[in-house]
Amino acid sequence: MSPALMRVLRVVVLLSAVRGAPLATVTLPPVILEPVPLEPVAPVPVPSEPVRVDSGADQNISIPINTEQQQQQQQQQQQVSLDVDVMLTGELNPNHYPARRAAQVVLHHLNTRYGSPYWWGALRQVHKATAEALGDSGRKYSLEVTLQDQISGTKETCTAEVVFPGGPAGGPPQVTTSYEGKSEINTQAQEEALYNQYNTSQNLLSGHNLPDSYGHVAPGMEPFWHLGGVASSFVMLKESSENTLYNMAQVVSVTQLATENNQLRFNYDVLLHEMVSQEIIHWKLLASWSPQEGVKASQMELLPKCHHCEPPQEH
């Protein structure tokens, strides 16, 4: 909260009595909103390229596309205008949810492959998307996306394919991408330093509520927040379908275990947010990490939604 806003919200209410009787004056405290975070404010990343307006509509597209594509999209729209259960095929609007959900799956996949306490990918934009039915084998999305490392802000564009398996057994989506690994930012030094710092049987790390209710992450704990996010992508990847969109909502707790096979190991308790159902889903997992091996998650366990349970509030 900026001092400017505080000044603006400030008030002093003076109460007065009448007829010279002793005054009881009470000063009403000014109102506050949220407390402010401990660490210095990082500027909100501003894109280096000019802001591109993302189109939200089919017929009114701000970016010129060829009329053939436009016609195809109009035809599609007419076909599915009344029946929402029919899955779209062909060229998809990259800003509508079917493409976005498939693209999110790509990001979860990339996090499982390339994520670390210093690299945590997020979807920035979908440029192109098509979908096709594979008969019994399910449905395949072909995508061109820009992803962004949430820590350094570095962006990269790649293509990807996501297959959502068909049939009653379902199963996790299968993802392939053209992404070849982190290019610009070199996180190796930071990773080595973190690894060495925590590769000890003394003072095993533990933490909780990352971030806390106010979006604050305790100093020094950010890498473990990131690691939790990356490890959660293992769960979110395997749980994803065309009807879900997952983000990690919060790390409830992280507890370091003794290093094994040169991997740092952490028990994580996380809350995932599933956008379509709006549910908050509680998972436990064991995350292991080293700079050489990257992140792996195992012992993933869904905890039942407890309606009577009230998780402790961090103050």
Binding site: L28, V31, I32, D54, G56, L82, V84
Partner: protein, 414 residues
């Protein structure tokens, strides 16, 4: 004999219920008693407000040094001026020991004015303060009560007239979306600050009224502070179920019962037993209907960075889809102009998901053409727990989009 107004602030040191008794004696003297009803299990001090009295220049200088330390994140309520004026500073919990050590070192006298400031009650205080400071522009209307009996307050910004065409803004209908209630509070103050200075806003308010409901789900909001940060719904129990609450954005009479909401009380998108079953929703429905002259209706949520318009319950495009789409594009372009924040836009059902019983589907079908829903920052990194340093930027950029919509409504009467 005159009239005595009694206002008391009661704080508890412990986690317990504060019982406040305020008695006007002889019509002139207020006596306030505060008792903690339940035994304290542990004392938790979160944020304290310290009143500091510097007695000389050396102490004043020490205080200025303290103020300059950004990492302490102090909120100066009454700043350092001279030795006769006390300094009031809100100190976050993590800075308390540092600040107190500093004060003790310089032997600076201070007292703890407020031991544990509660956020959700303070928004009610803020609303009353805004009205009392700006009686010619702002008034407060209680449009109903929440399930647990909390007042549902709407601020009316008006420069006069009777039943002028109006704009409605609401924040906090889903209680865990804290950036929205915070932004709503900022919007209120910003309207008061810029009326008469900002040409566009002044022109709007000279023709139209603005209604702003900041804490649209007060029970849920209180619950996110006391028990469960991720609570979304109302807090009304569901008979025959151990699960509490109804999704207030699935409880409206628009496509109610259809796909895009749940029939299970345990679900986060539970539609409720019937449309308008929730008093928080019914209050707005009744207000809008009896007002009869609402021209724009904006319901504010978080997160995802989207600007959405009807419909959510059906794929059939709204009659005004073209205009709503164009206006949305303008609004998010203006939003992005401030910090580069990228928004997507489109109908609810295309952009995010199918949702039935939603607010703006109902308001649109009531004839309120400019019906929009925002999903504010961010896109999932922090999600519902957006850090405080993003609240002001979010509020400011969102305001640019709101002004675009309000300005358009004002110029395009129907």
């Amino acid at each position: 004999m005159g009239v005595c107004v009694c206002v008391c602030v009661c704080v508890c040191v412990c986690v317990c219920v504060c019982v406040l008794m305020c008695v006007c004696v002889n019509g002139c003297v207020c006596v306030c008693v505060c008792a903690c009803v339940r035994a304290c299990v542990r004392v938790f001090t979160r944020h304290q407000v310290l009143r500091i009295s510097a007695k000389d220049e050396l102490q004043l200088s020490a205080l200025r040094d303290l103020e300059a330390l950004d990492h302490l994140q102090l909120d100066i309520w009454i700043g350092v001026r001279d030795v006769s004026t006390p300094v009031d500073i809100r100190v976050p919990a993590f800075s308390l020991s540092t600040v107190k050590s500093h004060l003790d070192y310089y032997e600076i006298q201070y007292s703890i004015m407020i031991r544990d400031l509660q956020v959700h009650d303070s928004i009610y205080n803020f609303q009353d303060m805004l009205v009392s400071e700006n009686p010619n522009l702002v008034s407060k209307i209680v449009i109903g009560r929440s399930y647990e009996g909390r007042p549902i307050n709407v601020l009316k910004f008006s420069t006069g007239g009777t039943s002028r065409p109006a704009i409605w803004l609401d924040t906090g209908i889903h209680s865990r979306e804290w950036v929205t209630q915070a932004s709503g509070t900022w919007f209120a103050k910003n309207i008061v600050d810029t009326y008469g200075k900002d040409q566009v806003l002044t022109a709007i308010l000279d023709k139209m009224d603005i209604f702003l409901e900041i804490v649209t789900n007060p029970d849920g909001f209180a619950y996110t502070h006391s028990k469960n940060r991720m609570w979304r719904k109302t807090r009304k129990p569901n008979p025959g179920s151990s699960c509490v609450g109804v999704d207030p954005n699935r409880n409206w009479d628009a496509g109610f019962g259809g796909a895009g909401a749940s029939s299970s009380p345990c679900s986060e998108t539970y539609r409720g037993p019937s449309a308008n079953s929730e008093s928080e929703v019914k209050a707005i429905v009744d207000f809008v209907k009896s007002h009869g002259n609402m021209k724009a209706f904006v319901s504010i949520h978080a997160y995802s960075q989207m600007l959405l318009f009807p419909y959510g319950f059906t794929k059939s495009p709204a009659r005004d889809h073209g205009e709503l789409n164009e206006l949305a594009k303008k609004a998010i372009t203006n939003l992005a102009s401030l910090y580069g924040t990228r928004y997507r836009y489109g109908s609810i059902i295309n952009t995010i998901y199918q949702a039935s019983g939603g607010t703006i589907d109902w308001t649109y079908d009531q004839g309120i053409k400019y019906s929009y829903t925002f999903e504010l920052r961010d896109t999932g990194r922090y999600g519902f727990i957006l850090p405080a340093n993003q609240i002001l930027p979010t509020a400011k950029e969102t305001w640019l989009a709101l002004m675009t919509i309000m300005d358009h409504s004002s110029r395009n009467s129907y």
